[in-house]
């Protein structure tokens, strides 16, 4: 279980007052649940995801993982406790192959067949990709799918996906939904997915709406989603 207690994050800007990106957020994410975090751009969703992974350090509040205070724990420490993070814009590496990345993610030596299986899950023809470098020769959509495959390979109790749909074409998107459905159907791990996509929100258990650095609404999908959809263009959460 992941608990965020009175979490805040400020950055210093020019001028007298620091800018508040996250304002006193408290949230509890239960085990084996699929939580979608949505809300307007610039509202603090990605920052919240980075705070969970330890990529950013909060300026106030606490993060508890299964009761353990991990607020001061670095990225490596959190990764080893079982938290994974899929980047909105996956990182490119010269010389590191897709196989290497999947193997590092899995944390053990993988047979070619096993590594290929993860790639197949995200709709990549494994044979074509396994020995390619994770560099500029891959398209944004390909990188994104490899990123998601690496998170599946990690198979940790909590996986945070930062806008997995960004940069993915429509065909891939349908497959992506299937991937998340499959992950969720197993009910073995928790998923936190930051998304604007109705189809992703539609398969979540819980939806959290974040705007202007604060939680505007949270609850079961069936309670939150209709409000979000009815209010397109004038949604009360987005106001």
């Amino acid at each position: 279980m992941l608990e965020l207690k009175n979490l805040s994050f400020q950055v210093k800007e020019q001028g007298p007052a620091p800018k508040e990106i996250i304002k006193d957020i408290s949230l509890t994410l239960g085990d084996n649940t699929f939580t979608a975090i949505t809300g307007p751009n610039g509202g603090g969703k990605s920052t919240l995801a980075k705070l969970i992974m330890g990529i950013e350090k909060p300026t106030g509040g606490q993060i508890l993982w299964n009761g353990q205070d991990i607020t001061e724990l670095d990225i490596t420490g959190r990764a080893r406790l079982g938290i994974s993070f899929a980047f909105q814009q996956p990182v490119r590496f010269k010389g590191i192959k897709v196989r290497d990345l999947i193997t590092l993610a899995a944390g053990e030596k993988l047979s070619t067949a096993a590594a290929c299986e993860y790639l197949s899950k995200v709709g990549l023809c494994a044979r074509d990709y396994i020995n390619r470098e994770v560099d500029a020769s891959l398209s944004g959509g390909e990188l994104k799918r490899i990123e998601i495959a690496s998170i599946i390979a990690r198979n940790t109790p909590l996986s945070v996906f930062d806008e997995p749909e960004a940069g993915i074409d429509l065909w891939s998107f349908s497959n992506l939904i299937k991937v998340f459905e499959e992950l969720h159907d197993k009910r073995e791990n928790s998923l936190v997915i930051i998304s604007h996509q109705e189809r992703i929100l539609n398969i979540a258990d819980e939806i959290v709406v974040i705007a202007d650095g604060a939680v505007k609404a949270k609850g079961k999908r069936e309670d939150i989603l209709p409000e979000l959809l009815n209010g397109t263009g004038g949604c009360k959460f987005y106001q």
Binding site: T76, R80, V91, K94, G95, L104, A105, S150, R154
Partner: protein
């Protein structure tokens, strides 16, 4: 050969034992083992140190190993190896030098490798340099490679110097006839207070000739590197050079690419990029459970692979 020499041999040539095919193994300034084949002859030079490697026209799928190992502190040598490769060959040549210096005197191996490659031949040339030993004496290597590529021939050259060479000055020059192609891939890592200089000069003389120089370099700690790549396009040709370098700690790297078009249809490109490891790359690998140091190591190893 003793154990140290065997270890060096494994590092530079990947050899546990004598290789298959033609070979000449030089240890502490002397040829200690040699084998020739029906198509490949190896002859000791009479006027100076070194050997001539003569490969008959039409020789296919054969290899030559010519590793050099030095384990005697204070040994300095200058060796000339000439390769005469006939027309229509397809061969692999594996050279390399390993120096183990546990004494206080400098050990130095300078070598000039000259290639005379006939028409329509394919040559893969691999050269690996390695140093070990904890003495105060320096381990110095200055390899010079001269390549003459005949019409429609193709040479792939891979050079690797990853560890333990205190000072190196590498010089590679090549002239290409019509339709000839040259690909050079260099991997270089320096650490401590090592210095490395690598300079290339490629003359694309023949119509339709092409060259691609790819250098990947990592400089750690207080080491220094200089990369010079000069390509002259003297005909309708294509030339490309690329220096990609990572600096760490207090290291310094200079990259000086130079391209000269002496012909209207010479298409020449150079690229050079030097920078530290991108922070986001380290963060990504840390999210997979690696420590910062492990992430750096993984990135450097991948970069130099």
């Amino acid at each position: 050969m003793d154990e140290i020499q065997k270890t060096l041999l494994e590092q530079v040539a990947g050899l546990h034992d004598v290789p298959a095919g033609a070979y000449n193994i030089r240890a502490n300034g002397e040829s200690v083992a040699r084998n020739t084949s029906a198509n490949i002859d190896i002859v000791t030079k009479q006027d100076k140190q070194g050997i001539d490697i003569v490969i008959k026209p039409g020789t296919k799928k054969e290899s030559v190993h010519i590793p050099v190992v030095l384990s005697q502190s204070g040994l300095t040598e200058m060796v000339y190896n000439d390769f005469y490769i006939g027309d229509d060959c397809d061969v692999v040549i594996i050279a390399g030098c390993g120096i183990h210096n546990s004494g206080d005197l400098d050990s130095k191996h300078d070598g000039v490798h000259s290639f005379f490659i006939g028409k329509n031949s394919h040559v893969k040339y691999v050269e690996k340099h390695y140093g070990s030993g904890d003495g105060n004496g320096q381990r110095i290597m200055n390899p010079e490679t001269v390549v003459n590529l005949g019409e429609n021939s193709f040479m792939e050259m891979e050079t690797v110097q990853i560890k333990g060479v205190d000072s190196t000055k590498r010089t590679t020059s090549a002239t290409l006839d019509a339709g000839a192609k040259l690909i050079i891939t260099e991997r270089l890592m320096t650490h401590g207070s090592q210095t490395a200089e690598s300079s290339f000069q490629v003359d694309l003389n023949g119509e339709g000739s092409s060259a691609n120089l790819i250098s990947r370099a990592v400089a750690k700690e207080n080491s220094r590197q200089l990369f010079l790549a000069k390509i002259n396009g003297n005909n309708r040709c294509a030339g490309h050079s690329e220096c990609d370098a990572i600096i760490m700690d207090n290291a310094k790297i200079s990259a000086i690419p130079e391209i000269t078009a002496n012909h209207l249809d010479a298409a020449l490109i150079h690229e050079a990029a030097i920078g530290k490891i991108a922070g986001e790359q380290i963060i990504k690998l840390m999210t997979l459970g690696l420590t910062e140091a492990e992430a750096e190591e993984q990135i450097v190893n991948g970069f130099l692979k």
